[in-house]
């Protein structure tokens, strides 16, 4: 909007670039796969209703579920920690890693949210991302551009050049060979790491279990090869029972990648037991609030029902155009436009809710039916009432509203607009307008307001 950086500034740099094109291709592929995967279900809408009910029930009973989870996970041998904010979470993890030098990490958005990697690296701990996309991101010194596909914005040629540059291997854009390089590097990391850090797709209160949904097998290695496993759990990512978890799993992979199930669905209930051949000696679960309690108490609480499938990103016309980097933060797309200002506050994230055409495609595909457009409207109302919008917009809207509630003034406003448009018009069309309206004419012509309005025509020809 009026401020120089912010969404618009970031987006303008991406629009029309190779990055934008790569995002669009990837997002469309995901959308197609999702449609096909859901089409094979007899009643996809029924699954959506059940998943929504489960997630809303979890949020309504969050205190009870977290307490049950803590009891059960502790009984299974885990140690459960609570972190109120990002700093506390980072301190807890760093404390658990005292003396460690190498950590293998599987994908975790909440770790991005709290800035864990840079914190650990500042303490001299090497953190290696082992999810292929995250590994590439880390190698490139970049940030993820999609919640499930971190390098959606890159082409495989770019990845090939990056590998040649950073790993000193021969250039190739063949995904199989690129994967082999990654595997060769990462095998050693899994075996040498002092600890593994993972995210959690879903915790199950009844049994104190952690569920991880992955495709590459790295999640299983991170959580079983090193002696210590630290799982980062966003406070809301929990359901009560295995029956409920089953419903969520049925929709998660279909909505995310179009798979019926992801390649690996890993369930972790406590550390290695004496009879187990392998597994970590310690499992720590760090439950992270970091603004979630505030969101839960507010008007956008429903956004916490999100299961992080990314379907709303893939269908969003704005996301398809600018990708995750336009949003400037870890959670992008429609869900991010609601979640980010909620978790991190309106400064400087108040403009993300305006990064939407309100087309409603997000709500349409959401596997748990989150009413994202309604929440975007609520956040916009908040931004407007806090005086964050540009002056021209506030003044214009006041003028417009005063006219719209007083028909005589309305007719005058229309005639004035017609008169003012005269010097800009050629044969009924306007090519360039000054002021904020130049945003329109930068890429489109505008017809001049009609000589005779419909209301005037009606009075003349049809009026009583």
């Amino acid at each position: 909007m009026s401020q120089p950086v912010g969404f618009l500034g970031r987006a303008a740099a991406i629009v029309g670039s190779e990055e934008g094109a790569a995002v669009d291709r990837g997002a469309r592929q995901f959308t197609l796969s999702r449609s096909l995967a859901l089409a094979e279900l007899p009643i996809a809408d029924d699954l959506r209703k059940r998943a929504r009910a489960i997630r809303l029930r979890s949020l309504a009973n969050l205190d009870r579920l977290l307490s049950r989870f803590t009891d059960e996970a502790t009984a299974a041998g885990c140690r459960v920690h609570f972190a109120g904010d990002a700093d506390e979470a980072n301190r807890i993890v760093a404390g658990l890693l005292a003396g460690s030098t190498l950590v293998a990490k599987s994908k975790s958005m909440v770790s991005e949210e709290i800035g864990l990697n840079s914190h650990l690296e500042s303490l001299g701990i090497d953190v290696v991302e082992t999810d292929l996309g995250e590994y590439i991101t880390q190698l490139a010194g970049d940030t993820p551009s999609h919640i499930i596909a971190p390098v959606l914005h890159m082409t495989r040629q770019q990845v090939g050049r990056l590998f040649a540059d950073k790993l000193g291997v021969e250039y190739t854009d063949d995904p199989i060979r690129l994967n082999r390089h990654t595997r060769e590097t990462l095998r050693g990391v899994f075996l040498a790491a002092d600890a593994g850090i993972s995210g959690v797709n879903m915790a199950i209160a009844d049994t104190g279990s952690l569920v991880l949904v992955t495709n590459e097998g790295n999640g299983r290695l991170v959580t079983s090869a090193p002696k210590v496993h630290i799982a980062l759990l966003g406070m809301e990512r929990i359901v009560g029972s295995w029956d409920e978890a089953g419903v969520i799993l049925e929709t998660l992979a279909r909505s995310a990648t179009g798979q019926r199930l992801s390649v690996y669905t890993t369930v972790i209930t406590g550390p290695r037991r004496p009879q187990d051949p392998d597994g970590p000696d310690e499992v720590h679960v760090v439950i992270i609030d970091n603004g979630r309690s505030d969101v839960l108490a507010g008007e956008t609480a429903e956004i916490l029902a999100c299961i992080r499938c990314g379907a709303c990103l893939n269908v969003c016309p704005v996301f398809r155009t600018v990708g995750g980097h336009g949003y400037g933060t870890v959670y992008s797309g429609p869900v991010g436009a609601v979640l980010t200002p909620g978790l991190m506050g309106p400064d400087p994230w108040w403009d993300l809710p305006y990064a939407s055409t309100l087309c409603g495609a997000c709500e349409e595909v959401c596997p748990v039916g989150i009413r994202i457009p309604t929440m975007l409207l609520h956040l916009r109302e908040q931004a407007a009432s806090e005086g964050r919008l540009p002056g021209w917009l506030n003044r214009g809207m006041r003028l417009y509203t005063r006219a719209a509630v007083e028909p005589a003034r309305w007719a005058r406003l229309r005639r004035t607009a017609r008169r003012l448009s005269a010097p800009f018009s050629v044969r009924g069309w306007i090519r360039r307008l000054p002021g904020p309206a130049r945003g329109w004419t930068a890429s489109r012509d505008l017809p001049r307001p009609a000589k005779t309005s419909f209301a005037e025509w009606w009075r003349e020809h049809r009026g009583a």
């Binding site: 016309p317 309100l358 417009y400 719209a404 890429s443 012509d445 209301a455 049809r462």
Partner: protein, 240 residues
Amino acid sequence: MAGPQVQLVVTCLVDAMTPQVGRATVSALERSGCRVSFPEGQTCCGQPAMNTGHTEQAREMAAHMLDVLDATTGPVVVPSGSCAEMMIHHYPRLFEGTEREDQARRVAARVRELTQFLVDDVGTHIRASSDGARIVYHYSCHGLRGLGLDRTADRLLYGVERLPLDGDRECCGFGGLFSIEMPPVSAAIMDAKLDRIEASEAEMLVGGDVSCLLHLQGGLRRRGSPVAVKHIAELLGDGE
């Protein structure tokens, strides 16, 4: 027997920018056997203010429209999926828990988008005609997702030579004031849409919302494209 008496809300954009669409709407309704009234004093449904976050001003405009319409009876017909959806779904929400809630619900229950009204309520016998032009149709988002208008538009277009339009259920990038606040993003989404429209080899783009159509028409014109742009009402009635 005389058909139903309807109250026409033309929308602010049709009134000021494309009055021919309003006249065509009257013609389509009359050809379908309806008698048309035009409630004096109607202005804007208030959606622009709601979408920028000026909710209180949206309520002021909505309250004005409610008063204008509540003084009339019979179906309220709107040649716009977006404005109709605003009145049907958002009026009751905006006034929830206020003394206008009943009024908002009462009026909302009478509001119909044009194609919905013609197909579902009137069962019109008229069909669209493009005078031989091959068309593509853009389903505008609010009408499509909020009111299910793909079905009614498809029905009315039966018989017109219609070409497939890749991505015809995707947003055109207009988004109301989004088009002015986020020009490069809006334009990029529009350009992708225009590429597809041009690739379809259609001679005419048709839609149900003047707002999206002005945006697309402005973009096509800027490109020097010969594709004509019409509101579906103009294929159903005579706007001259």
